[in-house]
Symmetry: C2
Subunit: 376 residues, 2 copies
């Protein structure tokens, strides 16, 4: 912990980085995975379970929270930490991505975005300044600039226009954020799948000397190799002494390959969403608990896991819960999945410290490929 | 705990009884409330939470479990305790009530019941002997006789016919159950809303010298006073040295008034079902968290509760979770409700021991009537 926001690089191994992001509410060990707490709750988990898996920081969605329960209300109630009972660091996105993906009747101008709520159709305006204001009302420790994320594939001219406007919005967000020593505002690299635009965006943001940098607009349906190529184009242009966050990513494999390219922070709804749909992430790959092969299997998901969800319940029971639509099924599998992601991050951190990241990544990947234990 | 099934009466206060039901898997302090674990899970709760609220025993539904995952499968997996991870006593119903309320194309004959599953339409037969066999496969500690429960209102002749057949089924279940020292098979008093039939049923069952007695076919829509009148007719005819279980009951007020009439055991889906629908049971009555009055309320449901769900989350947060359809809302309110029911039972047990049950029941009831704290 520290009174001011800071990043410390503890070790590197190739391009992979082991570091620490410190701020008044706690220290985040990087590479880190941030469970997504969209509406002030990491779906189907208690916050002490989330912490127990090893999570140092969670993500809150500005778009969801501004619509319900409302940013001013959360502020009156003491902020998102107190509201959600998560007292450690929280990163909030800017709301821009969800405006694009969830809302209706949206209109983007230089000034900002206007849109209709997907909940009740009410009209809202969000400028770069309002996004930062909302994130401040929520009490977020790491705030994101408002950006415009274009859906791929798109024309280069359109990608460039959105990227350039996102740079201007980054400046406005920086001004709106001002000087808050214990908190940070990150800029977001855009540029679609065009390497030269990614580079231009990264360089322009680097020149702004922000406290951290995100890579946005990826993992939106493009092939993994495109995403990785964009990281190859972007990361070297970002200052080494600042944390780097790849937004909305991803599968365990995406994470391994992005860490190898110098990414420090990740978030994704995948582990909790998959958990609600009967899918478990394990060191042996993805396991579908809906599959009848588990119906008579007395073995746990993973007897070596530290997570009770993976260790203390039979596959037969998990299968039964999932097939019966019982809440406990989603609760246990979401817990298992967040725990698996966190154990993966711990594994990655240990390997970077030991200077054996490439070998460890290879071994982890082989574990997924070998697949699940044979049926009983 | 004890190697054989036994009941000990520790204190009485008027007709209210304080006792202990002991069996190899644990001791049940009575009066007791059994959370309902329909399909091997108390909905939206972890078993350690259930135990943490003070529950000594849970209920499993034979009908649900025989259809999914299947009794033979549960037996192969080591029984319901191991399957569900609840290692303390389990009571199972006979399946009869759910056959009547949930299944289709059911046909009742002297031999038993045939019906179609509400899940997949498959045909099943359940005789008194098969019900006991299934409950044995599940590994249930307290098993219930198969009975026929007629919906009220009904003709007296029909109520009598079903009651008399239930008595014959009780004999057949007793024979099928045989001699199992560590376990018990309870008979079920039937007789609808006809006092004389209730009395006849109770007397006939008492003569069978079973290990415990249930009162069934109540809390099926009749006025509370009818239910209480049936208890007044029934309880005095049941042997004092055996536990008495009022099936499927009920509201906190039903429980208070039934304890006053000599009932020792209760079960009901109400606390968990209400929890999933945004309703909280508290010492100040029922609180509807959907109500907008809670939207800005930073106070917990009940700051004096021992349950984290009642104490550590604001009403504003609970309101937000419920309005947003977040799983955590149902998880927290189900937890609160089971905890409230268990604290009520502890309160009742303490009062009977202290010889102040009537006064305490009055005070508890007044707390409900005074209602919730004023809005902020």
């Amino acid at each position: 912990m520290s009174a001011s926001f800071s990043f410390r690089l503890l070790a590197t191994d190739g391009s992979a980085r082991r570091g620490e992001v410190s701020m008044p509410r706690g220290t985040v060990r990087t590479p880190t995975f941030m469970p997504v707490g969209t509406g002030g709750t990491v779906k189907a988990l208690y916050m002490d379970q989330v912490r127990g898996t090893g999570a140092d920081i969670i993500l809150g969605n500005t778009y969801h929270l501004m619509l319900r329960p409302g940013a001013e209300r959360v502020a009156r109630l003491g902020g998102l930490h107190s509201f959600s009972t998560w007292q450690r660091p929280i990163l909030t996105d800017s709301g821009g991505f969800q405006v694009m993906s969830l809302s209706a009747l949206r209109k983007v101008t230089e000034r900002g975005v206007t849109f209709s709520s997907h909940i009740d159709g009410s009209r809202h305006e969000m400028s770069p300044e309002r996004s930062i204001e909302i994130q401040g009302l929520l009490g977020s420790d790491i705030q994101m600039q408002l950006d415009e994320c274009v859906a791929l594939p798109a024309e280069t001219a359109e990608i460039e226009r959105a990227m350039e406007m996102s740079l201007r919005w980054a400046e406005r967000c920086r001004t709106a954020f001002g000087d808050q020593p214990g908190k940070a505002m990150f800029g977001i690299v855009q540029g679609g799948d065009v390497e030269s635009l990614r580079l231009r965006s990264a360089q322009a943001l680097a020149a702004m000397d922000l406290k951290g940098y995100a890579v946005g607009g990826l993992a939106v349906g493009e092939p993994q190799e495109t995403m990785l190529a964009m990281l190859d184009a972007t990361c070297p242009a970002l200052p080494a002494e600042k944390p780097r966050y790849l937004m909305g990513v991803g599968t365990p494999d995406d994470i391994l390959k992005s860490v190898a390219r110098g990414i420090d922070m990740f978030d994704c709804v995948m582990p909790t969403r998959a958990g609600r749909h009967g899918l478990a992430y394990t060191r042996r790959g993805k396991v579908n608990l809906k599959n009848a092969r588990h119906a008579d299997d007395p073995r746990p998901l993973d007897e070596e896991s530290n997570c009770p969800a993976a260790r203390d319940y039979s596959r037969a029971y998990l299968h039964h819960l999932v097939k019966s639509g019982e809440a406990l099924g989603g609760m246990l599998l979401s817990w298992n999945n967040i725990a698996y992601y966190q154990s993966l991050m711990q594994d990655i951190r240990d390997a970077i410290e030991a200077g054996s990241f490439a070998e460890r990544a290879q071994a982890i990947s082989e574990g997924w490929t070998r697949g699940d234990i044979a049926p009983v």
